[in-house]
């Protein structure tokens, strides 16, 4: 045997140790997979480029492209735009959840996860921890770039914290669309294509860039009930100091419905995959 000379006895000792620890529950399983997500960020920091570069680009680009035309000056427009860009960035980031999950699922490691005595959906719930990190990071980058360009939230730091918290909750809800697609579809490419079908109308036919009051009635009818618009509206309220419980409640309706419907669907699909 080419292993080290003392290996057979060490091997025997390891094999003779037949302890069976008390199984970890659903919560600890989720935390363990959350740890895996953190380790992946540590080892593959490239995956954060997207979470950092995209928000910088969006914020700077749209401020200067639309600012002069829409609000007289980029600086004034930024006050209106920034909450919208936060939402757009995070909703885009939640799409990558589906793509990443799809790539991950096709690897052999999921065969091992499936054969383990663990809460079967915990690889997915744990991965959501990594997503929260990405969403929070992206939001902070948007706010920092905004501050640099002259954005001033009326409600200060507490407003920003509250806005990011609401964003995370809603992104968790939207994320189920992409998680479901990530499990149901075969390749990362098709996940991307289908995700765009949801993302394009949701983010662009919204009040992210302009107030819906200027739109034709038929479009406005959609834009005003678009869950992205509702979330942007709530964020503008939180950051501008005018938030009402109704606004925040309206922003939460779709994410809650999505979670209620799609999380069991995703779990069934995950169980059946392969």
């Amino acid at each position: 045997m080419n292993l080290k000379t003392d290996t057979p006895s060490v091997l025997h000792a390891v094999l003779a140790d037949r302890r069976r620890p008390v199984p970890a529950g659903a919560g600890r399983n989720t935390l363990s997979f959350g740890w895996r997500a953190m380790l992946k960020i540590k080892h593959v920091p490239e995956q954060l480029f997207d979470a950092v570069i995209t928000p910088i680009m969006f914020t700077a680009l749209f401020t200067y492209i639309f600012g002069g035309a829409l609000a007289g000056s980029p600086r004034e427009y930024l006050q209106f735009l920034l909450p919208g860009i936060m939402v757009q960035t995070v909703v885009f980031a939640s799409m990558y959840t589906g793509v990443t999950l799809n790539t991950d699922l096709s690897k052999g490691i999921y065969d091992r996860f499936r054969s383990l005595p663990i809460w079967h959906i915990s690889p997915i719930t744990g991965a959501m921890f990594g997503d929260f990190m990405r969403y929070t990071l992206s939001s902070i980058v948007v706010v920092l770039v905004g501050l640099l360009l002259g954005y001033r939230p009326v409600t200060g730091v507490m407003g920003v914290v509250a806005a990011i918290a609401l964003l995370n909750v809603c992104a968790f809800g939207f994320g189920w669309i992409f998680t479901t697609l990530g499990i149901a579809l075969r390749t990362p490419g098709t996940v991307m294509t289908f995700s765009w079908l949801f993302l394009m109308p949701l983010t662009f036919a919204s009040n992210v860039f302009v107030d819906s009051a200027t739109m034709p009635g038929w479009l406005r009818a959609f834009v005003d009930v678009n869950p992205v618009s509702l979330l942007v509206h709530a964020l503008r309220g939180i950051l501008g100091g005018t938030a009402t419980a109704g606004q925040i409640g309206a922003a939460l309706v779709f994410p809650v419905i999505l979670t209620a419907i799609l999380s069991p669907v995703a779990m069934v699909l995950y169980k059946r995959r392969r």
């Binding site: 292993l3 080290k4 000792a13 390891v14 140790d17 069976r20 091992r112 054969s115 915990s122």
Partner: protein, 345 residues
């Protein structure tokens, strides 16, 4: 060692397992009886249904028909209890390539319920036993094939299972790494674990397995110890190497008539013939007849048939893909995944 689980005499008892993929019956009525504490080999070419059978027995997919009791648990109704006592080392590296070797083992230790310092202690003990301590801090993607396989097997032993599934554990490994894996399997069985391994390599089944099921097109076509399988083909085989291909036809006719058995010739080498023989006296007669006909062989030998010959005589095709077989095996060479999927719609 484990007083809580009375291990039944049979670790696996499967009856008529069936799994379809579209119109293809990937597994077409497989019966298996695996004695606890033994190494059981499932031998067959790519796409024979080995992996699908293992995936069913390891609770990853449900069979479309049939039933199985694994470690005394009903496969369909007691999957959760069963998963606590089995481990699977899949055909494709079932480790996270982005994580280091140590992190991979620590993740599994945490998932399996180890706490605090025990997580790292168990992981480090495994790393040492599998000669991976030096590479413990490297990402698994930087590992060689042999190291990755060892990490993969170590990952299956964080909690030592009563039954370990090893799906083609040595495919693609160099001989040295293959021997290491073999040693690990022997050590495991010594310590009381039952091992079900699949392989395309006859040598591996011969070397490790107490009993072997030969699988082809989703069916078990033969079952027994390697000795029994060899004996089922005949008590032995006479191999004859001719001087040149010119006398091949007459030599084949002569041997066939004398030994009353079909003469096979190697596809790649027309001067090499083999015939099953009932006893050595008749083999000597046949050789004498060749001499009298002026067809003196360059070399001859009489021996037990190899598992290769067993497989060939059972299935009519060779077990291991040969590189000279042309485009079809070039596809095989791309990796087991491509080849396996090629058989499924």
């Amino acid at each position: 060692m484990n007083p809580h689980h009375q291990i039944p005499e049979l670790a696996i008892e499967a009856e008529s397992l069936v799994k379809h993929y579209g119109k293809t019956r990937a597994v077409d009525g497989v019966d298996l009886r695996v004695r606890a504490g033994s190494v059981y080999g499932m031998l067959g070419p790519n796409g024979a249904g080995k992996t699908t059978t293992v995936r069913m027995l390891a609770t990853l997919i449900n069979p479309d028909a049939g039933r199985a009791t694994v470690l005394g648990h009903d496969l369909l109704r007691e999957g959760a209890a069963l998963r606590r006592r089995i481990s699977l080392t899949g055909q494709f590296a079932s480790v996270d390539e982005d994580l280091t070797g140590r992190e991979n083992l620590m993740l599994l230790a945490k998932l399996l319920g180890f706490r605090g310092g025990e997580v790292k202690r168990r992981s480090d003990a495994l790393l040492e036993a599998f000669d991976l301590t030096e590479a413990a801090g490297q990402q698994a993607k930087a590992y060689s094939g042999g190291m990755r396989r060892r990490l993969d097997i170590a990952a299956s032993l964080v909690v030592v299972p009563d039954l370990l599934f090893l799906d083609e554990p040595t495919t693609g490994l160099d001989p040295r790494s293959r021997n290491q894996v073999w040693d690990i399997v022997r050590a495991l069985v010594n310590d009381g674990t039952t091992v079900l391994l699949t392989t395309q390599y006859l040598e591996e089944a011969d070397e490790l397995a107490d009993r072997i099921a030969v699988i082809d097109h989703g069916k078990v076509i033969a079952e027994g110890t390697s000795g029994e399988l060899k004996a089922s083909v005949g008590s032995g085989t006479l191999h004859v190497a001719l001087k040149d291909a010119a006398g091949r036809e007459s030599a084949m006719a002569l041997l066939g008539a004398r030994l009353d058995a079909p003469v096979a010739s190697a596809p790649a080498d027309e001067t090499s013939l083999s015939v099953p023989v009932a006893d050595s006296a008749r083999a000597m007669d046949a050789l004498d007849a060749l001499r009298q006909a002026g067809l003196i062989p360059l070399a001859f030998s009489l021996g037990q048939p190899s598992l290769d010959e067993v497989f060939f005589s059972l299935t009519g095709h060779p077990a291991e893909p040969h590189n000279e077989d042309g485009p079809e095996s070039a596809q095989d060479a791309k990796g087991p995944e491509g080849a396996q999927k090629g058989h499924l719609p």
